[in-house]
């Protein structure tokens, strides 16, 4: 894409900065007061990993209950709370903070900036997150339990038939939203104002591009989510009637507003993944990315189209046929730019000198499995068919393919890819391969049979099921436990890599290109204090 020159004088400058008066204070204060993009990136990533395991534990409770038909372990009410909080934590606590962490670590290094543009706000946007999730998790222990109305908190379930934990739920979502908005503003300002001289728009790495577009999606729709939860709050506690038919409101309106946020939100969780895969595949194919410009345009068009498809979540609410067809065709249109992306990744690998280190394995698995998720998405987009699939395990299978084998696999791939750069040590390749194969097999055992039980009519979000689904559900649960345990391997690899290992070279990977690979491994605490010259 671009050649980069950094002269020796500049390296000396960084060296001085590293050993000068810029040393961070030690201990808790370092992390609590830090405005350094690398520290904040690390905090985000560790937070996301913690939340991934907490949300994962809830998934284990769900799968344990569904291992057999009938009610064994938990009460239906608690089961509902588990599905709700599992969804909220994985979406807002694991996937989104992990991407923000990657953005913090990588964007300044990739565009040759010394730090994020608004470092103090960066500190705030991270440190309010633990409070948001503490509030959400504590609500599980209050009388009447936590939120149990699904992560989509449809009215009137969340306004009329919910417990008092709803207020805590609303406040925690407010805080999460503020955090994401601040993070997004920071990313936009950094990319607009702090690119190194010569880093033109069409030279930016795709991870930076996809994050820029994601950040615009975030500031466009997170405020709408904040508005939605505010309306739920006032409907429940302050006598307004946004969603209450008795006062002239309309519960279906809730779904329109929610999914106006919700559909761009699902692209917020996948566009950075596209950027990650577009970084990894060229490195291990030792070829430049095929169709760089078309990747940028495809990402932009996916983002724009995401505002025109929300009602495909609501085909069964009784819309006029014209509207159903409109949303069906718009949804199917998204398959075109997505297909361009998949084509470009495959074309990048075509006749490349491929090697299959762990990041590449996860990236390839991403391409294949995300495409499966995309295809089931196309099936769901077919309006008449959706009446059959709606609210079944087919939907659960679809969004777990795009979110687990899509977003989460890309985050894991990114962690393996950049861990040597971050820590200065290579991770344990053997353990990493074990982690990959265990994850790959178990995740498919976990989610693939969900397609079948879904097509056969098993409803989602129900703690019990008809007897004919018993065998498949036992298999799914075994896959679930195996996938959960496999992630402990990942934890082991990460801890081991942080603590030591074979020293990593600056470039780390033979085919890696980009500014971050010009820095030492690990990079100095303050990097690119003088901007590099990008040619």
């Amino acid at each position: 894409m671009s050649t980069i020159s950094t002269d020796t004088h500049q390296h000396a400058g960084q060296h001085d900065a590293d050993h000068g008066h810029h040393h961070p204070p030690a201990g808790f204060k370092r992390w609590f007061y830090t405005t350094n993009h690398k520290d904040i990136g690390t905090l985000y990533l560790l937070f996301a990993l913690t939340m991934f395991f907490i949300g994962g534990l809830m998934a284990m409770v769900i799968r344990a209950e569904l291992f057999q038909p009938g009610l064994q372990l938990v009460q239906p009410d608690f089961f509902n709370q588990m599905t709700t909080v599992h969804g909220l934590i994985m979406v807002f606590g694991a996937v989104m903070p992990a991407f923000t962490g990657l953005a913090n670590w990588l964007i300044p290094m990739m565009i040759g900036a010394p730090d994020m543009a608004l470092p103090r706000m960066n500190n705030w946007s991270f440190w309010i997150l633990p409070f948001a999730f503490a509030i959400l998790l504590m609500s599980l222990f209050m009388e009447g339990g936590g939120p149990g109305f699904g992560w989509t908190f449809y009215a009137p379930l969340s306004t009329k038939y919910s417990g008092d934990s709803t207020a805590l739920f609303v406040f925690s979502v407010h805080i999460m939203g503020i955090s994401s908005i601040m993070g997004a503003i920071n990313v936009i300002v950094t990319i607009f104002n702090l690119r190194a001289p010569g880093m033109t728009w069409m030279k930016m790495p795709l991870f930076v591009w996809t994050w820029l577009i994601t950040a615009f999606l975030l500031i466009a729709v997170m405020p709408v989510l904040a508005g939605t939860v505010t309306m739920v709050l006032t409907d429940k506690y302050f006598g307004t009637s946004f969603f209450d038919a008795a006062g002239g409101g309309d519960p279906v309106l809730f779904q329109h507003i929610f999914w106006f946020f919700g559909h761009p939100e699902v692209y917020i969780m996948i566009l950075p993944a596209f950027g990650i895969v577009s970084s990894i595949v060229p490195t291990f194919a030792r070829k430049p990315l095929f169709g760089y410009a078309s990747m940028v345009y495809a990402t932009s068009s996916i983002a724009l189209l995401s505002f025109l498809v929300w009602a495909h979540h609501m085909f069964t609410t009784g819309m006029p046929v014209f509207a159903e067809l409109f949303f069906m065709y718009c949804t199917m249109l998204i398959a075109v730019p997505t297909g361009v992306k998949v084509f470009n990744w495959v074309a990048t690998m075509w006749r490349g000198a491929l090697t299959f280190e762990v990041p590449m394995m996860f990236a390839i698995a991403f391409i294949v499995l995300f495409t499966i998720g995309g295809f089931s998405g196309l099936m769901l987009a077919i309006t008449p068919a959706d009446f059959q699939y709606h609210d079944t395990y087919f939907v659960v299978a679809h969004f777990h393919y795009v979110l687990v084998t899509g977003a989460i696999f890309s985050i894991i791939a990114a962690a393996y890819y950049w861990l040597p750069k971050w820590t200065g040590h290579m991770y344990d390749e053997t353990l990493g391969q074990w982690h990959f194969w265990c994850s790959l097999i178990s995740v498919n055992l976990l989610f693939f049979p969900m397609h079948f039980v879904g097509l056969a009519g098993m409803p989602r979000r129900i703690p019990d099921y008809a007897l004919q689904f018993a065998d498949f559900n036992a298999l799914i649960s075994i896959g679930g436990f195996a996938f959960g345990l496999s992630q402990l391997l990942f934890l082991w690899v990460v801890v081991k890599c942080i603590n030591g290992g074979k020293p990593a070279t600056n470039q780390v990977w033979e085919g890696a290109e980009g500014l971050e690979w010009q820095l030492t491994s690990p990079p100095p605490y303050h990097s690119f204090t003088t901007p590099p010259d990008v040619k």
Partner: protein
């Protein structure tokens, strides 16, 4: 390098954020307008219709089904006098709904209509309806409530049955008329 001034861009982004927060709320009236135009949500007009366009179309017969239910938390008895009638488009009909307050307290209620299929709501015109006002019933009081309506002859041909469903909600808490104990009841 001179540190760039982030403030102008920051200001723009904050304005976008605030505007989008407002847009979320603007969707509420926008949705109502959109539904009024398209009949998307099966809501009928809250205004009394006039019959000046009512030219009876004797060729067509439309079945009108009447449903009524009190909200689950509402103790009133509430049901239609007839379950179903057949009308010609343009023909003006009056039906009655019975309401009874079996409690020992004065209560105020609001009936909210919904028409299915939703698009037919645009053609279902009410000239007089108990749902236009709140209904106040004293303890144990019974009331026959009229509904006068006609179906617009422009009703598209694919509709042969229209279901009109009312849900009766308790709005005593929100009703200023019922806050005083000695309120004189002015119901019909």
């Amino acid at each position: 390098m001179q540190a760039p001034d982030h403030l102008p861009l920051l200001r723009k982004l904050v304005i976008i954020t605030v505007l989008m927060f407002g847009f979320g709320f603007a969707l509420v009236p926008l949705y109502d307008v959109f539904c009024d135009l398209t009949g998307l949500n099966g809501k009928t007009s809250t205004m009394a219709a006039t019959a000046d366009r009512a030219i009876t179309d004797q060729q067509r017969t439309i079945t009108i089904e009447f449903l009524a239910r009190p909200d689950p938390k509402m103790p009133w008895r509430f049901e239609p006098e007839v379950r179903q009638i057949k009308v010609h488009p343009g023909e003006i009909k009056v039906v009655h709904y019975a309401a009874e307050n079996p409690t020992s307290a004065l209560m105020v209620a609001q009936a909210v209509p919904s028409v299915s299929p939703g698009q037919a709501a645009l053609y279902f015109n009410k000239m007089e309806c108990f749902c236009f006002q709140r209904q106040t019933l004293k303890a144990g009081e019974k009331l026959m409530m009229p509904l006068q309506f006609y179906v617009d002859p422009a009703l598209p041909a694919q509709f042969s049955t229209i279901t009109l469903s009312y849900t009766m909600y308790d709005v005593t808490q929100h009703s200023p008329a019922a806050t005083g104990a000695a309120v004189y009841q002015t119901g019909k």
